[in-house]
Symmetry: T
Subunit: 143 residues, 12 copies
């Protein structure tokens, strides 16, 4: 079975409580459980990882290059500031799909620029929980 790592970046542990007018009321747990449901259908096994630490995300991506076939990542705030995560994505040589809950292009100017997207296979943004499920389907096709 294909193994896929799902990484959620800073503050996404607070989903459901945090700015519901921007991010909706869905929690990270419910995203994970919806992904798990779909993953069975697609014959994929998932590993979930959430961290507020840029370094831990870099560590995790580095380790995944051996054990996984693809990565789905919502780098959250680090999307706009982390060259380290970008380099980790390039270094791991896996196909990586970047997802965002909200449409980052209709928010503040500084959120329009993604440092990580150029290193990814593709990007899906603006569909809430559905962004993750679409990413899973994308991964299924790529791998």
């Amino acid at each position: 079975m294909t193994k896929v790592l799902v990484i959620n970046g800073p503050n996404l542990n607070l989903l459901g409580e945090r700015e519901p007018e921007v991010y909706g009321k869905v929690t990270l747990e419910s995203i994970n459980s919806e992904m798990t449901k779909l993953s069975k259908e697609l014959d994929i096994s998932l590993e979930f990882f959430q961290s507020n630490h840029e370094g831990e995300i870099v560590d995790k991506i580095g380790e995944a290059r051996k054990s996984c076939k693809a990565i789905i990542i919502n780098p959250a705030a680090y999307t706009h500031t982390s060259v380290a995560i970008r380099d980790a994505i390039t270094a791991c040589s896996l196909p990586v799909v970047e997802v965002h809950l909200s449409n980052i292009y209709s928010r503040e100017e500084f959120r329009h620029k993604s440092l990580t997207a150029p290193a990814c296979k593709g990007q899906i943004s603006g569909f809430g929980l559905e962004s993750y499920l679409l990413a899973l389907r994308a991964v299924k096709k790529i791998v």
Copy 2:
């Protein structure tokens, strides 16, 4: 049955011939036929429209606000230059999903900025033909 308009912008009629190292070998016809297959599964009816004319795309979006429930658009070159299409998207009040075959964030600098994305519900880029199919699934959820 939900009706969805699929718009393809300038030069996409040449798909398959045009810069295959960037856009792949898939033709617009095969994209349309794959979309048609999936649309049946999702109980959606599709209308296809391709034009190299900014004005025709604006016309079409304006007309669709009465007859359709959603739009999937690959504005191609107009992504980066057309305020008119952006305004048409906002004016039509329909959910619009922007798609791109290639990952626009790993190409020339001027392709990183999408004028149309802020007016859309969301954006999917980088998955080739699959970008359109994911958009169709996204539309199914939104409508």
Copy 3:
């Protein structure tokens, strides 16, 4: 009798329906009929033209240089992107008045820059339907 061409750019055909919080509830028809009323008072004959196509607007301005004495234009989205319309205005050698329904200077940053205004006689923005009537009076004085 002085003949004046009135050009309305992209998406203005949707006036009344489109983003009423920005553009108000007045329709293009009612603008035209109010202008017609005032034009009689001022002894001016009007020709109305609306198009979503940059090229058609360029064509129209080129033709008007023979048949008209002045032009009133709301280039809408093309205000911010069209060097072709700007060049057409310069090329036709007629006095041209640029109008906007909304105050473009209190909207998004990219709407603050008018590419067409430098080629016009003057600009009137922010007074809704009244912007057109003021433009008609301005034209009366200039011609």
Copy 4:
């Protein structure tokens, strides 16, 4: 009778003498007298105020919020540099119409940016003396 304050900013006291190739030969006195004529027709009473002092213009706008129904202002050079006048316009809560004799968009780059326009109801520029008369008509409609 509706009272309207007409403010003219720095160096406009020199009109008629100053750079006639840019501003024409009309004097501030003749502008005022043409406005007075039209104001009677429109049942408006006018108060005229000219100052080269940013602070006096701010003072005047602040006082007008009690005694007037609208303001017509040509901020001249302060258009491009005064946040204080912009804030005064916002603070007074009256409809304010910005006017310019010349088309500021066909002059030096630094004159293209108006700091005050975003706080105004609308802007009229490029019609010489006629700019003021159009503003008066605009005010009549707004109030």
Copy 5:
């Protein structure tokens, strides 16, 4: 007793009436009276000065260098445009504390840049009336 000059810049005379959603409902009088109360506790004597004129503020700062031990200033709009007040602050050699009622960093882009702050001892912004009282305590420590 230590004498401290309190300067309020343009439009602050309208406090309480002006944009209450931004500046709150407190008036300049009530700020002054709260400051007076606290100043007695801290053994400081206060002189209050409000002006909409950049030049008068420069004059005042120049005079204060002889008679006062410190200055508390809310330069309001001049924060963002006045090199003259910045130079006056440097020239007077007194410790100066810049205060703002609102958090200028969460407002329009052009309000994020303070020309005067680099010449001051420090800056306090965002606490409404309390900003002034904190400034008074800061001054007490510095002098």
Copy 6:
């Protein structure tokens, strides 16, 4: 015989009348007839196309990839704004020569940047009618 497509962009139909101090008094007809004369000498057959419509120019370039061996294009205003024409040039895989009547580098700042030139084989600007004849000779050598 080698077939070459000659495309003239917006407002070039007005040549001879339009701003003669910039573009000279030569008409498009006389350019075409001079080109025809030279083309016979060089054993080239020419097809002439003028349009004010960006979309029509894109259409035309797309069609030419089958029927022609090279393109000579004066994109006029679209030089500075059209990614669609740039993409069409790249997509058609033909050698394309960009020409300008005037020296675009000695005109307004926004005319210094050509979006289309990077996709072309080369560029010739500033020699009036002669620019087209030189382009024809260049094409002769390339094909």
Copy 7:
């Protein structure tokens, strides 16, 4: 009793040793003990936290949203680079006061921009140890 979290960012553990000409000779311990003294007077209980890790600061802010009533933070270097801390501040919904020992507006250009300030209630900078004590008083008023 109101509980307030006090966060100190990277390198502030070295206070007293580190660049004393910029930051003074006061140590973090003495700041904490001065704050403790004042907190008793104001009936506030304090929790102190120092970390050089962006992720730990994000973690801490996330946890504090349950246990504390307000946060005082000196993000130090992360002021200028951390979108993650900014998002954490917004996500926690507590009033947050940003403090700086030095006047960041009179230092290097890149220190003038605070990414975190727009998400805070207010900012106090330039008063050394006193900045923290003023922040504590500000918090007392807000809560």
Copy 8:
């Protein structure tokens, strides 16, 4: 006898006391008296004017266009921010010489840009008191 107006802008009344490491120890009085001495030699009569008020300087320049033959101006801080003084210089049609005590090009970045210099005949900066005397000699030659 030729009459020349000498204008000194904001904070120059404090010369001798103000930042002597930048401006030297010379006072405005001594500059004026040195200028008076030289003016006699050159058969010029001088009028001295110092103001911290942008508006007063604009007033003064406007009045001088009748009574004087030339102006020597040190606009100080207004050099970098005043379009109003620039416009007054252009409007008065007199030859104007801009002077600076310090070399403005070796100070802070924002002091490198003079808004007023383009409207002047020439500029002399960096020679302390001597800048004024050289300006007087320059004026003698021009008039």
Copy 9:
């Protein structure tokens, strides 16, 4: 017979050896000999000059204003950095044609800006050796 000066800038002496993937394998000698052949046909006499020294090129242009009727110049690297050569071109009052072997608009960003082009009659770039021959024909027409 018309005399024309042909100037080649820095590193062009290495043509044929230097980066053949950019500049081709043609040598400067073969360019000169091809030009000589064509010049005879066109009844032009040529003088060739190559230098790596900006100053020598300036000297040469200055001298040519007496002895030549036109100049063909490939300023190479100095295209992008030399105001001195630009000024020399303007000063000599001869028609000057700028040529480039490669298409400078499809190379590094800093090569897109030509400082010298605005001072020239026109520019030809991208045709290798042929660029020079086209320039010679252009010169023939101009003189």
Copy 10:
């Protein structure tokens, strides 16, 4: 014996596997062992530290100020984003040498700017493993 700390930043643990076309095939272990060999020759003792965590690198630099005489650091991705590491370098008061395996100036634009270099003694980039050995020799001279 002089003790020197060698810090390697994010993703350098993957050296040898990661993008060998950019970074070569050498591993971090082989770099360390080559450094150890040379260090003995130079009578230096080395401590090696690799981390993907910005905060850990800041911690380590802070601790080293007591135990080491110098630092050699390859901040990798943090070179371009970390003010915290820059401040740590300044705070520790040790001579620090920045090294890079690749020539960062011939890579993507955003890698040309080093935030950390201004705080270092010097920088060595582009020599692969040899960069570290040169740094060690540099350190030997400095200490």
Copy 11:
């Protein structure tokens, strides 16, 4: 007797012939002879040097540090491009006065920035031949 070196940069050998509408009709010889006259009056001996070569100007400045007491330089085009001359000015430790015939601030944008001025004692621009004479008087005072 004080020895002063007078350096004139590129194209100034053509003065009198070159763009007389910008630079006037005076020749370099007449400037030199007027300077010689004044220098005798001021008891200064002059050495004149003109070169179109940046390197020769750098050489000359380097040599002058031993033999001269001051330098008057018109770097002409090199004003805007030469860091080498700037560094030479700083390196020679002599007082240097920069002069310009025309007012560089009322010409093209790229001429507003002087790279050399920050390294000079002061700058005089806009007075034609008189600029040099004023510079000579300035030098007299400084030395």
Copy 12:
């Protein structure tokens, strides 16, 4: 024996005298003699070349491509302005090492950008005389 060319750019002939607080007291002669010593150890023969002329440096690099195996260059001021030297480095196809005495990244903003570095193998800056010796060792490894 491997021959290496050592090039020193403008003003480096003044080393030891010039701004010793930036460049130290070492002379170019002593750098050369230290290099000579080390070169013997490394079995390299050196040729030294210093010039203030950009063109001579370009000439020299062009000649070296035949006679030398590598180049060590300190382009000094030309680092920041010379495309010609950059092109010469690329054209010569030799490995080139750029050196700087001072840390150019801790000096003025305009010195942070090296135009020549992207064309070099690597760069060493900030170690004074030692920079050259390290470069020699680097060259030894590369060749």
